[in-house]
Amino acid sequence: MSLLDFARGPAIHWALIILVAGTIWRLLGVLVLTRGADLSRPRDAFGNFKGYRTVFSRAWPSGEFTTATRYQTGMAYVFHIATLIVVIGIVPHIEFITGLTGASWPGLPNAAGVAFGIIALASLLALILRRIAKPAVYCSNWGDYFAWFVMAAPLVTGLMAFAHIGPRYETMLAIHILSVALLFAWFPFGKLMHSFWFIFSRAQSGVAYAHKGVRI
């Protein structure tokens, strides 16, 4: 079995199994654990609605924080959007998803895919540099750096495979798929789960504040 056979076969298979089982486990494990009922009467009749609105209203920091957070918020948006485009926009990825689900859609030309890949990687670098430069703001632990690493690895290896840098294409492709397998397998257990948690945590704090009558 070649490295590519291993990557495309058992490695990605097990990574997907861990991803699905792990994500559902984490989601259920936390969500079923509801808070007790709010014993005081809500101060705001629209408390629940306003709470859910927070999911969207917190998509950009409040005006007071603009100067302090502009850079990382902007960079984070650039990173997330570019990554999403690369993940669902380039043809090999669409082929992978089609193989799993049967769904397919038109892809981007290679040059556009590479451009978005580079933008995603550059913004990811910009974010880690800020994190390293301002330890007091972030209080990072190894989980933050590891999450960054498992995210950066597929971008770097994917670009290398495309550009034929490093080992032969099939080996580089195998390394790329393995790096994605690592990302999938780690996803439910680290900070990457924020892709699900952000909805619930924002809604939860929104509801809690609204019930207390805090303007949000």
């Binding site: 070649s2 590519l4 056979d5 495309r8 076969g9 058992p10 990605i12 298979h13 997907l16 199994i17 861990i18 699905v20 089982a21 792990g22 994500t23 559902i24 486990w25 984490r26 989601l27 259920l28 494990g29 936390v30 969500l31 079923v32 654990l33 043809v91 090999p92 990825h93 082929e95 992978f96 089609t98 193989g99 799993l100 892809g107 981007l108 030309p109 290679n110 040059a111 034929h164 032969r168 294409y169 099939e170 492709l173």
Partner: protein
Amino acid sequence: MAKETTLGDLLRSQGVSRRAFLQFCTTTATMMALPAAVIPSMARALEQARRPSVIWLSFQECTGCTEALLRSHAPSIESLIFDFISLDYHHTLQAASGDAAEKAREQAMHEHAGEYLLLVDGSIPTLKGTSTIAGINNLDMLMEGAAGAAAILAVGTCAAYGGLPKAAPNPTGARSVEELITDKPIVNLPGCPPIPLAITGVIAHYLTMGALPEVDHLKRPLAFYGENVHDRCYRRPFYDRGLFAETFDDEGARKGWCLYKLGCKAPETYNACATIKWNQGVSFPIQSGHGCIGCSEPNFWDKGGIYDSVPMAQFGSGPKIAVAGAVGVVAGAGAALLARTKKHKKEAELHADE
């Protein structure tokens, strides 16, 4: 088979012009990445080359490799060189049969011990009795033939890597030559079938240089298998622009767009198809409208479907992932229950403290 003593005599007697012969030498030298300066000496060495003894053993194969080499539409210099070597045993081509044929093989092996070139096509079954020639098991015949060989060329994917006979579930316990023989220089010439020039090119190299050519990690001569088919494909500009044929008869297919989505395996395949092409440079599979199936790579029969594209995951269907979902539900519910019990206990403790 020709009786002339040198290759030069043979070619002249067949009416091959010197210009055509030099052209062959140039092509071969270029393909083998030899410097232009060696072309005259290569031509001289080839012209004066004496008939080397070659024993060709065919095991579990379809004769496609021999066909590819011999069925070129005009007698090419490649096929003349092939005529020129003293093919002392090839059970499809030789006139002799039965005992006489086996005698010829034994005689050649004996007379040219340590000098003859052994060409093998077909994989070798390790299960006794599944394939025999004159009552001799393929495995025994290979071992016997390899013992006195100067070098071995494994012709075609079956001999080089096991090929179709070795595909799962491999009912005959098929093995490739290199899996069975480790003490002889081996060059693999995979392909289903291999490009004829790769076979004659390596023979020409051996005759002129007295050595086997440089090979890659899969023992394939770099001159013919050094490049990725996808990198040399004339449809590549369409690939780069994201223009793909979605079916074999759509607009894109008619316009000659890239066949990646139709399962073209060229990005992971190393061969000279896109440069030398087939049938004297007329065309090659991708040019004819079908994606590469990766025939020069080990175990290509077992690497997913022919029409599954390169990036597709290869683990059959997804039920295991659905099971994983169910496991997640159970584990999640369990975790939640545990946490809840713990929470209630803590609350009870706190109340008790008050």
